[in-house]
């Protein structure tokens, strides 16, 4: 559990580094810190440990999710280079908050006690509320922060209510304790438990922006500075699904027949709203917000069809989704800043017109990321969807499978709009420039996406 301690300490160290006159050191220091946390994460590889009086539990699955989260954070921080220069802001605070939020994310991934889940969710959320409003000159950003905060606080309250009811039903906060309660009372489980499950689920579904608790997502994603939107849509989602998986697969697997119907209905609603609404958007960022809702839907399929393959599918899908999302936002950040119009940065689809000609590399990165999100073969996204769909087929839930495949067809429509804009439309003639380091990060993400698409077996056996 070194990463949690390390990241907390590093966050405080970063705050002190903010006092230094020179701010050059901050970015490399943050990257080093995240790498250090990543390295220490693997110290527990292959073993299952309980930490701090049954508060946290690490196993290989938790380590993999932690790796995805830290990797995403690493890339987001690496892409923050030009952002920080532009804003002349206080990067020390940004980075410290990012590290704190990672502490929360790791706790959400490896909690064994529901209190830790709650505290983790809160740390992650509080940091996100602030980062959503970090662009203080923009009313949109302020609005996003306020909306996220108000609705997030509301959802947290519901989740807490759920945890309390669970405690009332089982007399314990410990995940495996709830499991043994469920098994010993297989025929007479208290109604309190059921209500607790529903409310806890609702609270968590809000965090991963599943319908009908998704309303905050488009507004918040749209208003938040692009970099932090990338962070939000990858780290928060991965951690949220890791938490959902742990609580559902350990504690509540005994009452699967109770919750799967509700979850299945919400899954379909999420897929429908995410995919269909994305079609109409003119802003790329809003489209990505709806796309993130739809991907929450695909991940939920894995949970609805909870089985032996679910964890592998979730890990793979989260990784594929995070890589593609970060590179998409990376390209958006460059393009939107260089294609400014009178309203400020241009985040619409037309900002990408002719990008493939002005900067073939960025065009390619974006194309691969869109193909991966759309689930076209030979990208990581295809295998993610394939595994998720296989879990549903294995469980025999065919109607959800048919629905999801239909919806993914709708998805292709809006992802391809970007590709069409980049390759088939004429755009402004001036070339789009990218800083070298920025380029390496994007290339790395794209290569990873392609490698996972060509050889998805690489992750196999790790889970």
């Amino acid at each position: 559990m070194l990463p949690i301690i390390l990241l907390s300490v590093f966050g405080i160290v970063l705050l002190f580094m903010g006092f230094l006159k020179s701010k050059v050191l901050l970015l490399p220091a943050t990257l080093v810190f995240i790498l250090a946390a990543l390295a220490t994460t693997f110290m527990d590889w292959g073993k299952t440990y309980l930490y701090f009086q049954n508060m946290l539990l690490t196993n290989n699955l938790a380590i993999l999710f932690t790796t995805i989260v830290l990797l995403s954070a690493f890339m987001v921080v690496a892409l923050s280079n030009s952002f920080i220069e532009d804003e002349q802001a206080q990067p020390a605070e940004y980075y410290a908050l990012l590290l704190f939020s990672l502490v929360g994310a790791i706790m959400m991934i490896s909690f064994e006690n529901l209190i830790m889940l709650f505290v983790g969710v809160e740390i992650l959320s509080v940091a996100m509320y602030v980062l959503a409003g970090s662009d203080k000159h923009s009313p949109r950003s302020n609005e996003a922060a306020l909306k996220y905060f108000l609705m997030g606080a509301f959802a947290t309250g519901i989740m807490l209510f759920g945890i309390a009811l669970l405690y009332g039903a089982t007399g314990t906060f410990v995940v495996s304790g709830i499991k043994s309660y469920v098994y010993t009372n297989a025929y007479g489980v208290s109604l309190l438990l059921y209500m607790g499950i529903i409310l806890l689920l609702i609270g968590m579904l809000f965090k991963v922006s599943a319908a009908p608790f998704h309303f905050w997502t488009p507004d918040v994603y749209d208003g938040t500075p692009g970099l932090f939107t990338a962070f939000m849509s990858t780290v928060v989602k991965t951690a949220g699904f890791a938490a959902l998986f742990r609580v559902l697969s350990v504690s509540f697997v005994g009452v699967y027949s109770f919750w799967w119907g509700t979850l299945a209905a919400l899954t379909c609603l999420t897929l429908l709203i995410g995919n269909v609404t994305a079609v109409y958007q003119t802003s790329f960022k809003r489209m990505m917000a709806y796309s993130s809702i739809s991907h929450a839907g695909y991940l939920l399929i894995g949970l609805t069809a909870l089985g032996t393959q679910t964890k592998q599918a979730l890990v793979f899908y989260s990784l594929a989704y995070s890589l593609a999302t970060i590179s998409a936002f990376g390209v958006l950040l460059v393009v939107s800043r260089q294609r400014q119009d009178t309203n400020g940065v241009n985040e619409n689809f037309d900002a990408f017109n002719g990008l493939a000609r002005q900067n073939p590399l960025l065009g390619f990165v974006m194309a691969v990321s869109m193909l991966s999100l759309a689930g076209i073969p030979l990208t990581a996204g295809f295998w993610g969807k394939f595994m998720i769909f296989t879990t549903a087929a294995d469980k025999g839930i065919y109607w959800i499978l048919v629905f999801a495949v239909l919806m993914s067809t709708v998805g292709i429509y809006y992802y391809f709009r970007v590709i069409i804009a980049m390759y088939f439309r004429e755009g402004a003639a001036e070339p789009v420039k990218v800083a070298p380091f920025y380029r390496y990060v994007l290339i790395a993400a794209t290569i990873l996406t392609l490698v996972l698409g060509l050889a998805p077996g690489l992750l196999e056996g790790l889970v």
Partner: protein
């Protein structure tokens, strides 16, 4: 054994070609682009030939690596070399190489030449993956990949909005098909626990004929084939796909990609033999497609549209063959069709090239003097497709019809009608294009020229193949049916009665005679109408007076002809054309419209007011709690 290496080399060459031309777009000199991509295709062809010559008769499976495991399901990245994949390899790389060479001449002056050749190589890569993969997942990856390339290449001349619409329509219809295919794969996984061909077919032989699960699987897979191979109701994208450059039409939309559906069914022949109901369905759809597309083709005036509808119709014949379990006959027609349809498209490309991008046959005529080589090869292709002996198309179509005859006389009669129409529209096309007087503008006449050698050479090769292709499988047990026999061992085992119908020689000769007579009769009819009577289809604006003047002298005969033949055919053709254009496209567009409308409505939910959001959340919670705890269902 070196087979592993050779197998991986086949798709690797085009991929390298794609990488060089794609990444080095605008950097690779234009003179090198063509040779590089053609060399990639030729190298694959050479390797395929080596594999073919060294083939022992036993299927070889080359596992490159263990790809992925999902639970108990293992998916290998492996190639399977057997009779079927060898045949497809030879077609794809052989015809593919010729079309690559042809493209050098055809596309050289285009601004995006490098991009075009790169896409062609990418297409070849995915197509090779499709035909050599040893399991359904690799086939699906190739399947999606060729769809993607087809989409990119149809929209290649993207300046025009119509072209983009055509590309989008092709994409949507293919996606509908892919949906079926994908669901079929998941059903296969749950039924057999594997996606590997050998595992599935070995297990399938233990199923009873008419099994419900197999029925569902085969129907879903056939939906995939419908999309890719343009069968009713998913055929309207193929004629529209002619918006792409002509080599693309020849390679993707005639010779290779569109036959992927037939390949898939031949590959899964055990499953289809197990499900007679599916075969019946295929038969009905196939004959309907064959006749519908042929009758539309009778009245088209765009040289490429005629060929496109002809392709749809010929694909219908191939499926017709499959529907009576004559799998090898279906494959035989795939092969000969690849030869003569590629030839016809490339010939059409040569004409279009000479006519400065004119595609309307009403503005052509008399071209045989100006394009002698194109004319001769086009003539040979026409004879081949019309089914006049001893050219390739005769043997393959006749074999299908003979099998159909044994199975169902009514289907055979309909097939014969379609074959008459085929012969008619092809000769109509030939006569209108190459005979009579030149009807184009002076500028076009001035510009008329025979195409360069890079374009005529492939024409000659393909013409030779179209003439001699029938030798592959002469009636009465030719080489091809013996060669492919091991593929159908499983089918023969599960349902011996589906095979083994030996047709006796007198019937066979009679059938041959009938179809030859029908084909020649149609050709003569076309000759009478378009050469003797100089009929030229009315222009779009229907200026009847010009034609009336032209046919003034033979008024009575023409009147009769008009009433008895032209009007019914026109009415039928128009009706069927409208069926495709408005009903099917209408449904597809309607679905798209519904999605957009729903999107517009759902978007309004996003009002931006926190009060409403919180209210919606509480409302949802209330609904969930009430539905979950208080509603019994």
């Amino acid at each position: 054994m070196q087979t592993d290496l050779l197998c991986s080399l086949i798709p690797l060459f085009p991929l390298i070609g794609f990488a060089i031309n794609g990444l080095g777009f605008r950097k690779v000199p234009a003179s090198l682009v063509g040779p590089i991509s053609s060399a990639a295709a030729l190298a694959s062809f050479a390797v395929s030939l080596m594999l073919f010559s060294g083939f022992s008769g036993q299927p070889v499976k080359a596992t490159l690596f263990d790809w992925i495991s999902v639970g108990s399901l293992h998916i290998n990245f492996s190639f399977q070399i057997d009779q079927l994949s060898l045949l497809m390899l030879l077609i794809v790389t052989g015809v593919g190489s010729l079309i690559h060479i042809y493209s050098i001449g055809y596309m050289k002056h285009d601004e995006g030449f490098g991009k075009f050749m790169a896409f062609l190589n990418l297409f070849l890569f995915f197509m090779l993956l499709l035909v050599t993969g040893s399991n359904y997942v690799i086939m699906f990856i190739g399947w999606e990949g060729v769809g993607l390339c087809s989409y990119l290449l149809i929209g290649f001349w993207n300046k025009n909005v119509n072209y983009n619409n055509a590309a989008r329509k092709a994409f949507v219809m293919n996606r509908i098909g892919d949906l079926g295919f994908l669901l079929g794969i998941f059903l296969l996984i749950t039924t057999f626990g594997s996606v590997e061909y050998t595992d599935i077919f070995e297990q399938a032989t233990r199923f009873a004929v008419g099994d419900k699960m197999i029925l569902a699987i085969t129907l879903l897979l056939f939906v995939g084939a419908m999309g890719k191979s343009a069968q009713i109701p998913l055929y309207t994208w193929l004629p529209d796909a002619m918006a792409g450059p002509t080599p693309v039409s020849a390679l993707i939309h005639a010779a290779t990609m569109v036959t992927a559906g037939i390949y898939m069914i031949v590959r899964s022949n055990v499953l289809y033999t197990l499900s007679p109901v599916t075969l019946e369905v295929i038969g009905v759809i196939a004959i309907a497609t064959a006749i519908l597309a042929a009758s539309i083709g009778l009245l088209q005036n765009d040289i490429k549209k005629v060929l496109a509808y002809s392709t749809v119709s010929q694909l219908g014949y191939m499926f017709l063959g499959l529907s009576v379990a004559a799998y090898s006959s279906g494959m035989f027609h795939v092969i000969t069709h690849a030869f003569f349809k590629a030839l016809l498209f490339l010939g059409a490309g040569s004409v279009i090239h000479a006519m400065s991008d004119e595609q309307d046959i009403r503005n052509m005529g008399g071209l045989r003097k100006h394009l002698p080589l194109t004319f001769i090869t086009f003539l040979l292709g026409t004879i081949a497709i019309a089914g006049i002996p001893p050219f390739a198309g005769f043997f393959s179509k006749d074999e299908i019809l003979a099998h159909v005859f044994l199975h169902n006389k009514a289907l055979w009669g309909l097939g014969l009608v379609g074959s008459a129409m085929t012969s008619f529209y092809m000769f109509r096309l030939l006569f209108l294009t190459f005979f009579g007087e030149f009807r184009g503008t002076e500028a076009q006449r001035h510009h008329l020229h025979e195409s360069p050698a890079t374009m005529t050479l492939p024409l000659i090769v393909l013409a030779v193949l179209s003439v001699a292709g029938g030798l592959l499988n002469l009636p009465g047990g030719g080489w091809l049916s013996h060669f492919m026999e091991p593929l159908f061992a499983g089918s023969a085992q599960v349902s011996p009665e589906a095979f083994g119908h030996e047709i006796d020689h007198s019937t066979e000769y009679m059938l041959m005679g009938i179809s030859t007579a029908v084909a020649i009769g149609s050709a003569i009819a076309a000759y009478v109408v378009y050469i003797s009577r100089h009929a030229v289809p009315a222009p779009e604006s229907a200026e009847r007076s010009g034609i009336a003047k032209l046919v003034y002298n033979k008024y009575f005969v023409d009147e009769l002809y008009e009433i008895a033949i032209v009007r019914p055919i026109r009415a039928l053709g128009d009706a069927l054309y409208n069926f495709g254009e408005f009903i099917i496209d209408g449904i597809v567009n309607g679905v798209a419209w519904i999605v957009r409308a729903a999107s517009a409505q759902l978007r309004l939910l996003q009002s931006g007011s926190i009060g409403f959001y919180v209210f919606a959340m509480v409302f949802s919670i209330a609904v969930i709690v009430i539905v979950r705890f208080f509603v019994r269902f």
